[in-house]
Amino acid sequence: MSTANKSQERLSLLHIFLSFVVPGLGQMVAGAFQRGLSFLLSVIVLSYLSIWTIAQKARFPEEYIGAGTRVFFLLVLEAFALLVFLIALRYLMARFVLRDAASQAFSIVGFAVLYAIVVVLLINPLLGTIADTETLSRLHAQTAVISAAAMAAFWFWQALDAGRLGAKQKAASMTPGILITLVLIFVLGWSITQIDLGKAISEYRDTQKILGNIFWPWRVAFEFEITSNEASQKIQAPCPPGATGPPENEVLADETWISATPTCGELTVRDLTGGIEFGTEMIITGGGYEPGQIVEIWWKNPIGNPFQPRSVGETSILIDENGEFTSTLIYPSAVVPDTAVGDQIHTLIARQESEQIFTGNLSREMILALTTMLETIMLALMATFFGIIVAFPLSFLAARNLMSPISSPLRTIIGGLFLLLPALWLAAQATSLVASSLGGLEKAPIPIASIGLILVILFGFVGYSLGGRALSALNRSVAEARTSLITALLAAPLGAIVGWIVGLGVANGIVSIPLGAEVLDTTTVSTPFAIISGFDGGISFSSNPGLAVTIAFFTSLLFALITFVLALRHRAEGDIKIGLVIYTFARTTLNVIRSIEPLIWAIVATIWVGLGPFAGTIALTLHTIAALAKLYSESIESIETGPIEAIQATGATRLQTIIYAVVPQILPPFISFTIYRWDINVRLSTIIGLVGGGGIGFLLIQWIRQYQYNNAGLAVWLIAITVASLDYISSRIRERFV
């Protein structure tokens, strides 16, 4: 035991030194190349993150990275010195003071805690100097110190690790390294995301009123007739020299009245930089109101727009027991256009809403919200419906267990593809013929598109199978080698076509692949190719179209050659797993569609078909197709194979096998997933309106932008009620099926 302990403490000083100078170098020299490299990369990445954060937060005027680096590494050095000092202290204590058993107790954990305490204690004296010299705020100086200390600890730990490896010992435990890294990332994350708990607490009070409106908005759900006590006073502003202003109102005995003095003065002026110059202060008195209730002060400018001048005085005033009030108000900032002529008369209004009579009707806002809510639910329904229709057949293509047995010989595929292209071209020609005979695409878009789709499928199918059969038939009548040669010769042009597209794409920047020649003719693009080949800026293809064509030509030549060689070398009897190719293609496409959020699809769809629920339906449908097809295909992949075998053994065709052995097994999960997806769609459709996809989200964002928090609250409540009840219903339906 004691010898083992002794040998454990043996360290290689050389490796420690190497790793101290360049992190990870000691490990690399000791033979653990990957470990060393990962430590080096960790140190580089973490240091850079720290420096970047410090420099960003400090907003150093010049050379801010340099200054951040200086601060950071100075701090790292200090923390490191401290660490070494403490370790020496611990060693001496264990050696001379605490002896064996006690030094065990004085474990690494206690040591880490001590280090942390000392670092935090050290922050305060250090902060002063840094904050002064490098204009770091106190908060970010803390970030700097803690991240530097963590980095020092990490540095020390990896040097120790190198020492152990160098002495042929077991590598150091990864736990401290991972813990230190996590601390570092947490501190940096706190700083980068600008977490400020103090602000969250101190500014909560201002939010309360708005939150109240949102949490209990039901007052605006119904229509009320409001009777009000209201009185007004004319005010003149600005006050030209010699003007006396409108007369102050008299005190009335039985009616509501207000009066203000002076009635002529200057308005508050705000300039563009946020500066403010207050106007004349006036005293407002009034009477004849309901005692104990609030009166609201409004200001109406000369063109008749009323507002509550909250920033220049109290606008909600409690009436005393005599029905009177007195208050002061500074003339607010109400812009008077330069072109205004003559005396500018404003109106000061004191209004008390004394009585609200419930009319028994829903308010306009409520009706609007309910209508759009219905729109939202329907949007979700339609998207789910279309999603199912497309996802169901797709999911069979994306199921590995169904697709992997499908294979066919290379010659069938090449022959098929070779005839597929002209067949598709023919289909396109036929479609355009049909379109022109029907009077253009705009006249009858749906019939033409349907005919086009059917023609493409029909021609494509016939072309593919004919081509495949032709080459297979050829194989039976001539020698194997000759068929291989013919196959390779046919494959080369296919490769050339792919190469041409890729070449044009590279030349025009990857984005222009689907647009092809159009981009070529009209725009100047900065391309990856241009950057790689050292052109400064973009290439103007409109002035130099030959370049793109040249690139495309050589790429297609290269591709043709590669395809030819590959096809020729392919063993003739070995089948290509075409099913797996289709599977991979389907999976990839679905993953790409699914990884793009419906909100982004909605933006794309609004560009396509304009604002409104149709755009939202398209966005949700796309996402639903991808998500459902994935879930469906995974449930297909997990079915039992026994029944399939049994049904096949009865002499059933492939279609019958799917209907009788696959479908019954996947139906329950399909129903469950579909309902779940409908549930998700309802939730998504409520927010898809935020970007113009229709539904209640559209209304919600409008109301929020107009600061109508009561109405917004109404929308939020309706969303919550709908989602909760649909959630309940869907879970009940799912229970029945699963």
Binding site: E640, G642, P643, E645, A646, I647, Q648, A649, T650, G651, A652, T653, L655, Q656, I659, Y660, A661, P664, Q665, L667, P668
Partner: protein, 276 residues
């Protein structure tokens, strides 16, 4: 059933009698899986009409592969399987389906569609006779429905027709499995360890069912088993497989004479009696 499918021979009934027509011939059958496992090596034997032939062998000896090669659920690598004069291994998809519907199959794990009702599972046996387009709307001929009732009656579970398959006990499920095979009006039934997941009493009952079919309906049974007393009780002929090779071939008398020691030679040390 007695007619020879080879048209040339048709006018000469005398020749047919002379040829001594054999139902299923397996010639030099070899199966090598993609991962290199050799499941069957050069297996040859003949199955006569109306035999109850039992294939015995350790698990992994190639019994399942052998049975599945016969209806080409597994594609043989080499060799020929001749069924009533027709080479199954060379048959195209359409012919293969016609052959498959004459050969019923019963499985160790029953392989029923668990969520479907018993009737649907049984009717599925008629899929080989049903136009594929009918299947899109789950349609079968009227006489198929009648036949399914008869078959369930015969298997002793007429009252279970509307239950879901997974609500039935193991023995009942295997009866549904046999009923499905019976719906094919088969000339032969392949039974892959039909009683391995059942208890001893049920094992006798299920094998009794198969024996009855063998004797009353003249259906050839090709069955894999691994309990010696079951083999001795039911088999009219036995083929023993070990590591994909035929190591034993004998008729009912030979089987009766099989001692535990002989049995162990085929099975290795794992041999066991049912003990019921």
């Amino acid at each position: 059933m007695g007619l020879c499918p080879i048209p040339l021979l048709k006018p000469y009934p005398f020749t047919i009698a002379l040829i001594n027509y054999q139902m299923l011939q397996i010639e030099n059958l070899t199966k090598i899986y993609r991962d290199g496992t050799v499941a069957l090596r050069d297996v040859s034997f003949t199955v006569e009409d109306n035999e109850f032939l039992v294939v015995i062998g350790l698990s992994g000896s190639g019994k399942s592969t052998l049975l599945r090669c016969i209806n080409r659920l597994v594609e043989p690598t080499e060799g020929r399987i001749v069924w009533n004069g027709q080479d199954i291994t060379a048959a195209n998809q359409a012919d293969l389906r016609r052959i498959r519907r004459e050969i019923g199959m019963v499985f160790q794990h029953f392989n029923l569609v668990k969520r479907s009702p018993v009737t649907t599972n049984v009717l599925a046996g008629r899929l080989g006779y049903t136009p594929p387009s009918w299947s899109l709307i789950n349609r079968f001929r009227e006489k198929d429905h009648k036949l399914s009732k008869e078959v369930l009656n015969r298997m002793g579970i007429p009252d279970k027709a509307d239950n879901r398959a997974d609500e039935l006990s193991g023995g009942q499920q295997q009866r549904v499995g046999i009923a499905r095979a019976l719906m094919q009006e088969p000339k032969m039934i392949l039974a892959d360890e039909p009683v391995a997941s059942l208890d001893p009493v049920l094992a006798h009952s299920i094998l009794g069912n198969l024996e009855k079919l063998n004797q009353e309906d003249d259906i050839t049974i090709l069955c894999s088993l691994h309990f010696l007393d079951l083999v001795q009780r039911y088999a009219t002929r036995v083929v023993g497989l070990k590591d994909g090779r035929v190591v034993f071939e004998g008729d009912a008398k030979d089987v009766k004479k099989l001692s535990d020691k002989d049995f162990k030679d085929i099975y290795g040390e794992d041999a066991e009696r049912l003990g019921a």
